[in-house]
Symmetry: C2
Subunit: 114 residues, 2 copies
């Protein structure tokens, strides 16, 4: 497929804009692994502030990737899940995770902050 790939594609560009904002890939991965609560996303992703997490969840909801569900319990319980469109990012996340396993060194991983 690489041989057939065009140098540029508007659909690809739009997809990149939708899913690569800072921390979005990490949030999508955590949700693919089953994390659904704001507080769990916040505690499981080191370095991600609540403010940015809140912004990204709104971005991803606007992109149709994340669904926000409010359960009318007492207290109200809010759950974030991936839509069909969001869950379909699994193969892309798996491809990047596999690349990371092959190429990112332990030293790079340990030093990673941005």
């Amino acid at each position: 497929m690489t041989d057939e790939m065009t140098p540029y594609c508007h659909h690809f560009h739009r997809a990149v804009v939708a899913v690569t904002r800072r921390w979005s890939p990490e949030i999508i991965r955590a949700m693919l692994a089953g994390t659904t609560r704001f507080s769990d996303l916040s505690s499981r992703i080191p370095g991600l502030s609540d403010r940015v997490l809140s912004e990204r969840l709104k971005d991803l909801e606007a992109e149709g990737i994340v669904v926000r569900t409010v359960h009318p319990d007492t207290p109200v319980r809010v759950e974030y899940t991936l839509s069909e469109k969001g869950a379909d990012l699994a193969s892309a996340v798996i491809a990047i995770a596999a690349w990371a396993d092959r190429w990112i060194t332990q030293e790079e991983a340990e030093a990673s902050t941005r």
Copy 2:
């Protein structure tokens, strides 16, 4: 593999930092499709300025993803190619391109600028 995926992985985070800076995925795609000259990258990726292209090529070179080769012709000819590490991103780029084909509408693609 989704079931086995951990919510967070430092290697994955470091990979995301390395490859998702603004315009990096589009540059990597164009290079996977065989584009090797600065001027060709610049003209084939709409909306990408020469200044940002130059910065991203330096970033990607520092990450070991892009190799810069200077051919001692007259005038000097500079070529940018993917390293083995960079070329190994093909499966991730293909996965995102396939997702884009499935989920990005024609209207979104045509309206895309950032």
